[in-house]
């Protein structure tokens, strides 16, 4: 077995080690992406409210 194969095999615990770290990694990458999306959405919403409240520009 090559070095990398030995590494990924984790001494026979591959499923458990990668199952743990993999799911944790997915969640801890997904949360910041969701947070960024939420923040952008809120900014859009506030901008829309500000435009609605703005006094009408005279033609």
């Amino acid at each position: 077995m090559s070095d990398w194969q030995t590494f990924f095999d984790m001494g026979g615990y591959a499923l458990y080690v990668w199952g743990s770290f993999g799911v944790s990694a997915v969640l801890m990458i997904a949360e910041p992406i969701l947070l960024r999306g939420r923040h952008k959405a809120v900014i859009k919403r506030v901008a829309r409210i500000a435009r609605m409240n703005a006094p009408e520009v005279k033609q």
């Binding site: 458990y16 080690v17 949360e31 923040h39 409210i49 500000a50």
Partner: protein, 250 residues
């Protein structure tokens, strides 16, 4: 009132805290990435193979920091909830709400990695022992808090109800922490013990602490980002929020 007290209350105003949170956020985000990067490298390439559990023990480097965070975030939420109920500060409830989803995330990770560690070492994904059950209750407390605060329309009532729920649920934290001492659990006792020498090598200990610090920085960054969104949502009709958005500084 002393001037010191006034200064503290100044930061409880969203208009003051919002830009401050925005300046702090990138520092904590970078710290989290660096520390977790180092921690992961040490977890897989530096920490030695365990003499009993082989490579399978490496799950500890995510499991224990996640479990610590799950309990600690709840305590911080309880602190903000108490502060909110006592001083009626608007920011307190927003802070608690900003922390809850990240707390739930770490609780889930602690339970999930625990199951993936229990299967090869104990022969089962799950047992209803005191440690596992009380940690599952913690996940339900987080989810209950999120559901309750988002179900009540009136923010002031939602804040108060949420704060009460968090404060009632805080009894669960010492139960989780001491469960391995109070009851005969399948879950092992704490690896790190302040009263006696810890039962792991120094390298393993440092790896775990670096991962824990990384998770700390991650939590602070996530909570700061979320609290900024909550502040803008709640203060959407205020001048300061609309001005920041108009200037592109939000």
């Amino acid at each position: 009132m002393s001037s010191r007290l006034i200064n503290w209350f100044k930061f409880s105003s969203p208009a003051t805290f919002y830009p401050l949170a925005g300046r702090l956020l990138p520092w904590f985000a970078v710290t989290a990435v660096v520390l977790i990067g180092i921690g992961l490298y040490m977890s897989f390439f530096v920490a030695p193979t365990d003499y009993k559990q082989g490579e399978g023990y490496r799950i500890i480097f995510i499991h224990v920091p996640a479990a610590w965070m799950s309990m600690f975030i709840y305590l911080v939420m309880a602190f903000w909830s108490a502060l909110g109920l006592i001083f009626n500060t608007r920011l307190s409830a927003m802070m608690a709400q900003a922390l809850a989803p990240t707390g739930a995330l770490f609780t889930f990770i602690a339970l999930w990695t625990g199951a993936f560690w229990g299967k090869p070492m104990w022969g089962t994904w799950w047992v209803w022992d005191a440690r596992l059950t009380s940690e599952l209750i913690l996940l339900f407390l987080y989810m209950g808090y999120i559901a309750l605060t988002s179900a009540i329309e009136d923010t002031r009532r939602a804040d108060r109800a949420g704060a009460l729920l968090v404060l009632v649920g805080v009894v669960n934290i010492p139960i989780i922490y001491y469960s391995v001492e109070w009851w005969n659990t399948l879950h092992q006792g704490s690896t790190i013990n302040f009263r006696k020498e810890s039962s792991m090598t120094t390298t393993m200990l440092y790896t775990m602490l670096i991962m824990a610090l990384g998770c700390w920085a991650y939590t602070i960054a996530a909570a700061l980002s979320r609290v900024r969104s909550i502040m803008l949502e709640r203060e959407r009709n205020s001048t300061w929020a609309q001005q920041l958005v108009a200037e592109g500084k939000a």
